[in-house]
């Protein structure tokens, strides 16, 4: 079996708060191959961003990876020292965030911030580094890059700032780009520009992308494979086609029914009942059981395992396990 570029195995990340331990990521595993675009989709609090931050090891102080492995080309990141990690960040794996205003330093020019990344991670210095910055800005479609390098973040629009962030992330041509809600703060027409840019760059540079978002539209547009998360666990994964046209987890089904789409404009939306779960008070069984219309007895007590639906598709729902459904039927 070929080695995966990135392999996350049974990752557990917890936050230790005054109110108790919050298991934000609870046994998440997935693989990422070269040149793949993987989408992680879920609501706020589903653990999708924490998964991304765990890979980069940039969790807040209270957060800790308590179990599992993250393998990059076969090496376990958990064994990396902080120094090695610094080398990994930027060079092997970069991240862009939702809000480009807060991720750029307001008191330095675009040019000096980008140069910092270039100098830290490459051999280029002085004039050579400046040229690389201009080249990167050109790559992400910023016009008049020579003038832009002297500007401060506040002088740029939201779309431009996100382009600068992408340029910075690409400074040392990483193998993996993690994009955490990259277009959520942007308007639709600007979002379209950024998505188009990311697709172009991905093709040109051949990097793998992990796209973290709650927007199923963006996911449908961009991703080869999709991971659906709820309550810190993966409930379903598969190719875009399988997830959208053949969903096998009640949460995914519910999500798809509840969003307006081209073909349900005249119909009433079918909402998911209830409210998102409280991570401090996780149910014993399936995380989604309290909101699930199909919930059976077993859902309340036991966590369903992920099973193969077909070769491109896995889901963790008791409804897919024939014995469980039959047992429920005979009990009634």
């Amino acid at each position: 079996m070929a080695e995966h570029l990135l392999s996350v195995q049974d990752l557990h990340t917890s936050f230790f708060t005054d109110a108790g331990e919050v298991q934000a990521v609870n046994g998440v595993s997935f693989n990422l191959d070269e040149g793949e675009i993987l989408g992680i989709v879920g609501e706020s609090g589903s653990g999708k961003s924490v998964t991304a931050y765990s890979i980069m090891r940039i969790l807040a102080d209270a957060g800790k990876i308590v179990g599992g492995k993250i393998l990059y080309k076969g090496q376990d990141l958990a064994q990396f020292s902080e120094k090695e990690m610094q080398n990994f960040r930027g060079k092997c794996c970069s991240i862009i965030f939702q809000d480009p205003m807060t991720s750029l330093n307001p008191v330095f020019t675009i040019g000096s911030q980008m140069k910092e990344a270039v100098v830290l991670h490459t051999e280029k210095r002085g004039k050579e580094a400046d040229d690389r910055v201009v080249e990167l800005l050109e790559l992400v479609g910023i016009n008049e890059p020579r003038r832009r390098v002297k500007q401060y973040p506040f002088e740029l629009s939201g779309g431009m700032r996100q382009r600068v962030m992408i340029a910075m992330a690409l400074a040392c041509e990483p193998d993996i780009l993690i994009a955490d809600e990259p277009t959520t703060a942007l308007d639709v027409t600007i979002q379209a520009q950024i998505l188009e840019l990311m697709q172009e760059l991905q093709k040109k540079l051949g990097m793998a992308v992990i796209l973290v978002t709650h927007d199923l539209g963006v996911i449908a547009d961009m991703c080869d494979n999709i991971v659906v998360m709820y309550g810190g666990r993966i409930c379903e994964r598969g190719t875009a086609h399988e997830i959208f046209y053949n969903p096998k987890h009640e949460y995914t089904k519910g999500l798809l029914r509840s969003i307006p789409n081209v073909n349900n404009m005249k119909k009433k939306l079918v909402p998911i009942s209830g409210t998102p779960i409280n991570m401090l008070n996780m149910p014993k069984g399936c995380a989604f059981c309290a909101r699930c219309d199909e919930a059976m007895k077993i859902c309340l007590t036991e966590v369903p395992e992920e099973i193969w639906i077909n070769e491109n598709h896995k889901a963790a729902c008791w409804m897919n396990i024939r014995d469980a459904v039959r047992e429920e039927g005979s009990a009634q």
């Binding site: 539209g217 547009d221 969003i259 307006p260 789409n261 009942s273 409210t275």
Partner: protein
């Protein structure tokens, strides 16, 4: 009684902005006219900064309009009568976290409009009315004594809606009411808006930037760009046959949650960013990003003209 409930005529809202020694007007809303029928939902879409929220707020006189008229049910809305006019027109705000007073109980929040307009003669009547409103929006009666911070985003938005409904309005301005909510909660709130409309016959001006949501809830849609309405039409008509180049690219930019559909589509990308409203281009505001722009667009600003029944567009070339 005519079918038109709200009529907005040539509404303008300029904000003074200091620029060096000069004060220049920021034309947030520039000559906007539209109507909303009884029990109808008019969607208002556009990107941030296009003036859609300002339209909603000026309509309700949360800002004093620079120029223009608003007629409600055959009566002109003025500074003098806005007090009792607000009994008929209400607002639901975008952010359910900052639009509810943290020191008031749910009962007091929903009861405040009743007190302001002296709609209840006794405490018992007030209490009954509040419980009725809470049941409309799917809140339990035991929630009445709780404070806003005890609720989730979706529930808070329900409180905001119950407050708007308290005075039995005929018209509600909904300013991005679902954009702060999680995807799985959005559908609950959208359905509630639709059910309340069926039950109470209230009309909405539904302001949002999510075109799929707007299309789902609205009968007609108006598209704004830099303070002006560029196209207004029946919701399905607008989605199937957009005429204005801005509407066209806006629709093509919306990611549709359906891989086959969205990938088969050609995105019409707009170049650059929205110009600053302080440095508006001459003529048509959209011409700097428009692929059909001609010399005429530079000199003259197109006005809305009717292309087919109910479908108005402001463009010289389409």
């Amino acid at each position: 009684m005519s079918d038109t409930l709200v009529e907005v005529k040539h509404l303008k809202q300029y904000f003074p902005v200091k620029s060096g020694f000069k004060t220049i007007p920021l034309k947030a809303v520039d000559d906007v006219s539209f109507t909303v029928g009884r029990g109808e939902t008019l969607g208002l879409v556009g990107e941030s900064g296009c003036g859609k929220t300002t339209v909603g707020r000026t309509l309700l006189r949360l800002y004093k309009p620079t120029d223009g008229e608003v007629w409600f049910d055959g009566e002109q809305v003025t500074d003098k009568n806005i007090g009792h006019m607000r009994k008929q027109m209400q607002m639901v705000f975008q952010d359910p976290y900052s639009s509810l007073d943290p020191r008031m109980t749910v009962e007091d929040i929903i009861g405040e409009p009743l007190d302001v307009h002296h709609l209840c003669s006794s405490r018992k009547e007030r209490r009954e009315k509040i419980l009725e409103l809470m049941s409309y929006v799917g809140l339990n009666s035991e929630h009445a004594r709780r404070y806003a911070h005890e609720f989730s985003g979706g529930q808070r938005q329900r409180i905001g809606i119950a407050r708007a409904l308290a005075v039995d309005p005929k018209f509600i301005v909904c300013d991005e009411p679902v954009s702060a909510l999680d995807v799985s909660i959005q559908a609950q709130v959208i359905n509630m808006f639709e059910e309340l409309q069926e039950k109470l016959g209230v009309a909405y001006l539904f302001i949002a930037h999510d075109l799929l949501v707007v299309h789902h809830i609205s009968q007609r849609i108006a598209v704004m760009y830099l303070g002006k309405i560029v196209e207004i039409a029946d919701a399905d008509d607008l989605n199937e046959h957009p005429i204005h180049p801005y509407t066209e690219s806006l629709l093509s930019a919306v990611p549709i949650p359906d891989p086959d559909v969205t990938r088969a589509r050609k995105r019409i990308l707009l170049e650059g960013d929205v110009p600053s409203p302080l440095k508006m281009p001459t003529g048509c505001a959209f011409r700097t990003r428009c692929r059909y722009a001609t010399e005429q667009c530079e000199h003259e600003c197109p006005s809305l003209t009717e292309r087919s029944p109910g479908h108005q567009v402001a463009c010289w070339n389409r």
